[in-house]
């Protein structure tokens, strides 16, 4: 029969593929009918040909199916329905929706903030284009049996690397170790600025973005590059290239270029200028010295070279240049790549250890995850709690023919919708809160709006949150059996009770843990702040005597200042009072030699009176005894090391590095001064009298005169006597407070995060309590009718929650104890952990729970039973 002959299959398939679904069967019918007739009339070959022609002619608009419409029509309708129902549900339960979305948004904001913060930490120094190839030269040495990593190098090393090993590097540059504070002045303005003294190749290595001039501008010893902020302060908006400025009123420098300010997340961010290293050395030190460690050396590798290989080449390069004493420390040179500078720069006995910064990144990361988890838990809790309302819907959908898969889809869809809404709110609130967050975290973070990666991760984030938050309701609600639900025999509230309880416990454990952490951070901070510092910080101002003009004006200045009546006294010292620089070994007492180095400070006669030394024994330097120029004052720790029973009046010999500096009489012993980290033990100090090389000037203001007036008077004296130096003073108490910045930042952020965690948890609790009360409305009504008192009802409703939070306390306390103990270990001067913190946190947690729950419980207990029983 004719069924055997069939038209060319390829074309028939092609036709089926492109043809409009609504036309397809009829037209195909026509084609086949025609084909069969033609087979009989003309034979198969011609019929095939004609069939092909027909098909090709059918390939025209009007017959070809539309591209999209047909495939998607069916599911679209149901999705629309899901969205509609989801939206209506949100609107119908405004209170719950607000708690849900608000809580999730709060959690997301925290997570986004922390995410941005971590991103900022991880992308540190990426501003520099040669990021991947720059390394700092480190030196590992053994001192007193301990391997130490050092950054300060000799000029000899830098020169050696450049001359002998230059083939391995694109660039080698030396920088004066640490920033230098200098007074920079144009004709009419002067400012104290911090910056670097660097070799000519440095700016190109750091890829400074030039606004004016070129990064190669440092070829000439008397040139300087300024940051755009400083350039603007000095010269306004004009191009200052070629203008001259003076530094510390002794050098005239030519501005060779202006670079864009280096952003905060670079290790060079505080560079307000780059001057030449030659200018700094100024002939007093050579570029090939091997005895002075005052340089940082940076190298830029050749393309494709790796740090380890080069390290193994240069490892021992310094050995031939060091004396025997030094080679015994077994110095090894190594390269520390720029990408590890920020988070991986701590060593312990020669091995890299997890740095505090990295720990902080981990801590914050964990907090972010936890807070987000809390918000998700809320969402899950409330959704399961509300499931009774949705149970009927699920039953009906199922009996109409909804598959379980579809219901799962629906509930996931809803949770995605909510998490997306929350994301939008979170983005908005992060945008609003960023300036404030930047201030406490000392960052300069912005939302990278133009970055597709950010949005991509944002949406991934919504997806994950949606999944996390929606899983429980999606899988749980969709499992309801329709028959039981519709009959009303189903009590979903009971079903989800245990997991819900577990979630509440988790939530409160985290909240209480964070509270404990915050309180301990703050206590440690207060503890260190209240540490006795050995001098009087109040109304003491310090400034850098950074101008040659100060020379020989000590007495005039002091007298003039004292004459104003606003000043109690004035003194000078070679180092700042909040600085621990100046270490020298070589002290001996009779036959007894002392190995360790002491913190040596040089001061003027009036130092003790000015800063307010507290003497334990002996007396201060005095002009009345001419022999006091060969006198010293030591501190308690030093006295302890010297081990002299009656130190006052004894003589110490000092011969640092073999050169005899003479014999000194101990005049007095003072209490230790906390100059360095307030968490470290104080250092043994020996204080000498000197008139030379004084860098710092201290003025004690008269507390009887108002600070403002006193400062004006002091400034006037400075302006007449040392007009070239800017009156850039700092208060000693403020300098001291700056030492707490890092911990204060951690404290503030921890407070912020734990406050949010508690708010989120309470929101969740509020929602749950409201739900319980609503579920038991009738029961409460009946109880009241039978004579239950408000107090007993309150007890009944609050009991469960209080038990849960108490369990949470039992989890949080040991965990907090363990974690905070670990945190405190990093401080030597630390707070003893007391039980009070834990008690306060737990009682606080329980109190907040009671308040939150009581609000709902009291409302329920106060309602008129008539109104609750009359419904239905």
């Amino acid at each position: 029969m004719s069924t055997k002959v069939s038209p060319p299959q390829a074309f028939l398939r092609f036709f089926r593929w492109f043809c409009d679904r609504s036309l397809h069967p009829y037209v195909e019918g026509d084609l086949i009918e025609l084909f069969r007739e033609r087979v009989e009339r003309y034979g198969k070959r011609k019929a095939d040909l004609l069939f092909i022609v027909d098909v090709l002619f059918l390939f025209r608009p009007g017959i070809i199916r539309p591209l999209f419409m047909n495939q998607t029509t069916t599911p679209m309708g149901i999705y629309e329905n899901y969205i509609k129902i989801g939206w209506r549900n949100l609107l119908r339960n405004k209170g719950y929706s607000m708690i849900n979305i608000g809580g999730l948004a709060a959690g997301m904001s925290v997570a986004i903030l922390i995410g941005l913060w971590i991103y900022d930490e991880l992308s540190f120094n990426k501003y520099h284009e040669n990021y991947d190839r720059i390394a700092q030269v480190y030196r590992m040495e053994t001192w007193d049996g301990v391997r130490e990593a050092n950054t300060a190098q000799t000029t000899g090393l830098g020169t050696l690397l450049r001359n002998e090993y230059g083939s391995h590097f694109d660039r080698v540059t030396m920088v004066r170790a640490r920033t230098e504070e200098r007074v920079i002045s144009s004709i009419e303005k002067k400012f104290t600025e911090t910056g670097f003294f660097i070799q000519a190749e440095g700016p190109a290595m750091l890829s400074l973005r030039m606004k004016y001039g070129s990064p190669d501008g440092l070829k000439d010893m008397n040139s300087i590059l300024l940051s755009s902020t400083v350039a603007k302060k000095l010269f306004g908006d004009t191009d200052p290239v070629g203008q001259s400025i003076s530094m510390d009123a002794k050098w005239d420098l030519r501005v060779a270029g202006v670079y864009q300010d280096i952003p905060k997340n670079s290790d060079f961010h505080d560079a307000s200028y780059f001057a030449t290293l030659d200018r700094y050395l100024d002939g007093w030190a050579s570029l090939n010295a091997w005895d002075n460690y005052h340089m940082y050396v940076y190298v830029q590798l050749k393309e494709g070279a790796d740090f380890e290989t080069i390290t193994s080449i240069i490892k021992d390069c310094t050995l031939p240049h060091l004396n025997e004493e030094h080679t015994q420390t077994n110095p090894e040179i190594f390269l520390h790549p720029m990408k590890k500078w920020h988070l991986y720069s701590e060593w312990e006995n020669g091995f890299e250890t997890t740095s505090n910064k990295l720990m902080t990144v981990w801590y914050y990361g964990a907090i972010g995850v936890f807070v987000l988890l809390l918000a998700c838990i809320n969402f899950m809790n409330l959704s399961t709690a509300r499931s009774e309302k949705r149970a009927k819907e699920v039953g009906i959908r199922k009996s109409i023919g909804s598959l379980r898969r579809q219901l799962v889809q629906q509930f996931y869809g809803e949770s995605f919708m909510v998490s997306f809404l929350a994301f939008v709110i979170a983005i908005a609130s992060v945008q609003l809160g960023l300036p404030w967050f930047n201030e406490i975290s000392d960052k300069n973070i912005s939302i990278p709006i133009a970055e597709p990666k950010f949005w991509l991760s944002g949406f991934a984030f919504v997806l994950v949150t949606g999944l996390l938050a929606g899983s429980y309701p999606a899988l749980y609600l969709s499992s309801f059996s329709p028959a039981r639900v519709l009959k009303g025999a189903f009590k979903p509230g009971r079903g989800g009770a245990t997991p819900r309880r577990v979630l509440v416990v988790v939530q409160f454990s985290v909240s209480i843990l964070l509270t404990i952490g915050t309180i301990i951070v703050y206590q440690q901070l207060e503890f260190a702040k209240n540490r006795p510092v050995g001098y009087d910080r109040q109304s003491l101002i310090g400034l850098r005597a950074a101008s040659p003009e100060f020379h020989g004006k000590y007495d005039v200045l002091r007298n003039e200042l004292k004459n104003t009546g606003a000043v109690v006294d004035m003194a000078e010292a070679n180092y700042s009072i909040t600085d621990i620089r100046g270490w020298n070994p070589g002290f001996s007492w009779g036959e007894k030699k002392y190995e360790p180095a002491f913190n040596t400070i040089f001061v003027s006669y009036d130092y003790g009176k000015t800063i307010g030394w507290e003497f334990i024994e002996g007396r201060d330097f005095s002009r009345e005894f001419a022999s006091d120029t060969a006198g010293i004052v030591i501190n308690e720790s030093a006295a302890e090391i010297f081990g002299i029973k009656k130190p006052v009046g004894e003589f110490l010999k000092w011969a640092p590095g073999g050169t005899d500096r003479g014999t000194f009489k101990i005049l007095g012993v003072v209490k230790d001064m906390v100059k360095g980290s307030p968490y470290e033990p104080t250092h043994p100090s020996v204080i000498f009298l000197s008139r030379y090389d004084m860098q710092w000037l201290y003025v004690r203001l008269n507390p009887g005169v108002g600070t403002h007036d006193a400062l004006r008077k002091v400034e006037r004296v400075f302006a007449t006597l040392v007009p070239s130096a800017p009156f850039d003073y700092t208060f000693a108490d403020e300098d001291y407070a700056a030492k707490f910045e890092e911990e204060e930042r951690i404290g503030k952020l921890a407070a912020l995060f734990s406050a949010l965690a508690i708010i989120i948890s309470c929101l969740g609790l509020l929602g749950l309590a409201a739900f319980t009360v609503e579920q038991r409305t009738k029961e409460i009504g009946i109880r009241k009718v039978l004579g239950a008192t408000a107090a007993s009802l309150w007890r009944m409703l609050s009991r469960e929650f209080i038990i849960l939070v108490t369990i949470a306390c039992f989890i949080a306390v040991p965990l907090g104890c363990y974690l905070m103990n670990a945190w405190l270990q990093q401080f030597i001067y630390r707070l003893p952990l007391g039980w009070e913190v834990f008690a306060i946190s737990c009682v606080g947690g329980i109190l907040i729970t009671i308040i939150t729950v009581s609000f709902q419980a009291m409302k329920a207990a106060a309602t008129n039973p008539v109104s609750s029983l009359r419904s239905e």
Partner: protein, 114 residues
């Protein structure tokens, strides 16, 4: 006045649908046009025209029986709607009025010219 849109081929198709009355479906329409007007009609052109006519509401369709010779595919029969009827009447009357408006002489002159 463009009250009724009806192309030349569409006009032929709708008239043929009318001729075939209850027997108008793809293949029969094609054959009818081919025999009456002795011109070739491709399935594609025909189907497009039918679809357009249907979209304009001049003809309507209903499913017919499915037969063995069509490998089980149903036929789709077409019928002229009231609107379709108006459309062809309008077309016919406009043509006639135009034709009648031609002066006799013009036709003759044309003949001479040819």
């Amino acid at each position: 006045m463009k009250k009724f849109q009806l192309g030349e081929f569409e006009e032929i198709v709708i008239l043929t649908v009318g001729i075939l009355y209850k027997e108008a479906y793809g293949v029969s329409i094609k054959k009818e046009i081919e025999t009456r007007l002795s011109r070739n009609v491709s399935v594609g052109a025909l189907q497009t025209a039918l679809k357009r006519l249907e979209d304009k509401g001049y003809i309507k369709s209903f499913d017919g029986e499915s037969t063995e010779e069509r490998a089980g595919r149903p036929r789709k029969y077409f019928q002229i709607t009231a609107l379709g009827k108006k459309a062809i009447e309008y077309k016919k009357s406009t043509r006639e009025s135009l034709y009648r408006a031609i002066p006799k002489i013009a036709l003759k002159a044309n003949m001479i010219g040819v």
